[in-house]
């Protein structure tokens, strides 16, 4: 009879990995929910990548921190830094992208992009030949490669919404972050999607995506634990050679002696 033991501590230990596997299974179901979400015309437009593991998550977090310094001085810089911490704290990252928002718009002439009752704004700002967008242009100098098709972006919201709804039903903590998507795109995840979000997923006692203190990039659990390790390494030098003299043992010996004496006095 196999035994599966789970605990969230120590991180990435065998028992923690057992726990994380459940979160990965949840992320798979969330990806399914995203694929079946309502959308205009029942058109397939969502791709997904599931990413987990200490190295993989660290790489993603570092890319977010790199981006934070590219927009230094703005509030969003802090958002990138804070949310990078959350990537490290998560069990798994579900990346969802919409692969039609840039290259194959809905062409519904809805006006979401332009306000002019047609798709002119998008097509005027993309290389295109008779309405066929050239997908080979992948360079851009903003965080997101816009303009995008509003109908597709709105639909993409349903996909991510359904993934989050599934997480809600599975009672697992999850939240969608555009910052994660921006970094993931630069690392080559969901390669066909001009717009993507990272849904962070965690099955922990404390939801890592709420109750976030300020300066989170420098004051967080990982930093506090590291501070303990760092300080204790210095503090322990207050000890001498325990084989020669051990103050704790002497105190214990004295305590035993005092206790015995007290008992004797009570008996008398």
């Amino acid at each position: 009879m196999p035994v599966i033991r789970m605990n969230d501590w120590p991180p990435y230990s065998a028992i923690d990995q057992n726990r994380r596997k459940c979160a990965v299974e949840a992320a798979r179901l969330m990806a399914n929910a995203a694929m079946t979400a309502p959308n205009a015309g029942g058109v397939s437009q969502v791709e997904a990548t599931i990413l987990y593991g200490m190295d993989e998550q660290e790489q993603l977090a570092r890319k977010m921190e790199e981006l934070a310094w590219q927009v230094d001085g703005k509030l969003i810089s802090r958002v990138f830094k804070y949310e990078a911490v959350m990537v490290r704290e998560s069990d798994v990252v579900l990346l969802l992208g919409d692969f039609r928002a840039k290259d194959t718009p809905m062409d519904a002439e809805c006006g979401f992009c332009s306000g002019t009752g047609n798709c002119s704004f998008l097509y005027e700002h993309r290389p295109q030949i008779h309405g066929l967008i050239d997908p080979t242009k992948r360079s851009f100098d903003t965080l997101v490669d816009g303009p995008l098709c509003g109908v597709r972006v709105h639909d993409f919201g349903y996909a991510v919404g359904s993934a989050l709804y599934m997480a809600n039903k599975l009672m697992i903590d999850a939240r969608a972050f555009w910052t994660v998507g921006v970094a993931a795109q630069r690392l080559g995840y969901c390669p066909d999607s001009a717009i993507q979000v990272g849904v962070l997923v965690a099955a922990l006692a404390k939801n890592p995506y709420v109750d976030v203190n300020t300066d989170y990039h420098v004051v967080n659990l990982q930093r506090l634990i590291d501070a303990n390790r760092r300080l204790y390494a210095l503090y322990r030098q207050a000890g001498g050679d325990y084989r020669v003299r051990d103050p704790g043992f002497e105190a214990e010996k004295q305590l035993r002696k005092d206790t015995t004496q007290t008992h004797q006095e009570e008996e008398e």
Partner: protein, 295 residues
């Protein structure tokens, strides 16, 4: 002691569609947004006021046929005395970005540029009828998450539903949710499986010839013959070699289309006036928080 009651199950459950609408509203307000900034407003319409929306759908269907598809489906349920509840979901602040993310998703370098463009853009009649862009793409995305959580709650309650641009757009055109930048409609009910899909009326009106006509115009490549002759022909009929059709392209009359849209706007304006008068006659004040929803 509980009072004895014998209820008509279907009638009772139909009345409770409003409870499902409430659950949808609970759900959509709990939807986790990426921006956390989209202001969402909802309204529920039931009963006779829906007839004004059907009128608007018929009118605006001349500009965008999806309004007619929605309207015909609505009326099928309504006149069979199984009217769905219409939950209107609106976003009040997606046309302007105060995020200052300057992410570029909308196509502008900065949020400020997008805001300015939105303010200055000239809209014709078609644009007035459709969505009033440009909008903040992340807020539009969040509005999708919000609508999805309403749909999902309805699905969890096992009540058929389908999120629609059409009913939202038409309800807004006749005077509802005027303070919203965009409004979508979620019909809740009737108590049938997948009523808003595999639509009955389409099945009844569609014969093979009509379907084929539409399909060949939209997807001619499926019926295209050997192109080496240099003739742009497609197959038609069982003995297609006796009934080849020529594929042709002609310019669409955009000016005429804009004129139709102008007429539609005028007509829908009169529907709006009558709708507002109807509400006034029934002592319904849309600016009041507690809006009567009796059928």
């Amino acid at each position: 002691m509980v009072d004895m009651r014998i209820l008509d199950g279907e009638k009772f459950a139909h009345e409770k569609l409003l409870d499902v609408a409430a659950s949808c509203i609970h759900s959509l307000h709990k939807a986790p947004q990426v921006t956390g900034r989209v202001k969402v407003k909802t309204m529920i319409l039931t009963g006779k006021v829906l007839e004004f929306m059907f009128e608007a759908q018929a009118i605006l269907g001349r500009v965008a046929i999806f309004n007619i598809l929605s309207g015909a489906t609505w009326q099928r349920a309504y006149y069979a005395e199984e009217p769905p509840v219409l939950l209107l979901i609106g976003a009040q602040n997606i046309a302007r970005s105060e995020l200052n993310w300057d992410c570029g998703a909308c196509g502008f370098k900065t949020c400020r540029e997008m805001n300015k463009y939105h303010k200055d853009v000239k809209r014709g009649a078609v644009a007035e009828i459709m969505m009033h862009g440009p909008v903040c793409m992340w807020k539009l995305f969040d509005f999708g998450v919000v609508c999805d959580w309403a749909c999902a709650a309805c699905w969890q309650a096992n009540v058929t539903n389908r999120i629609e641009a059409a009913s939202g757009m038409c309800a807004k055109a006749i005077g509802f949710m005027q303070d919203c930048d965009v409004v979508y409609g979620l019909p809740i009910g009737p108590m049938k499986d997948m009523f808003w899909y595999s639509r009955e009326f389409i099945g009844e009106m569609m014969d093979q010839d009509l379907w084929l006509e539409h399909a060949q115009v939209n997807y001619p490549v499926l019926w295209s013959v050997f192109p080496g002759h240099g003739r742009p022909t497609i197959k038609h009929g069982q003995k297609w070699w006796e009934g080849l059709r020529e594929r042709t392209l002609k310019d669409f009359d955009l000016e005429g289309y804009e004129k139709i849209a102008e007429e539609c706007l005028k007509e829908v304006g009169t529907v709006k006036e009558r709708t507002m008068q109807f509400l006034k006659d029934n002592n319904i004040d849309l600016t009041a928080l507690d809006i009567p929803v009796k059928p």
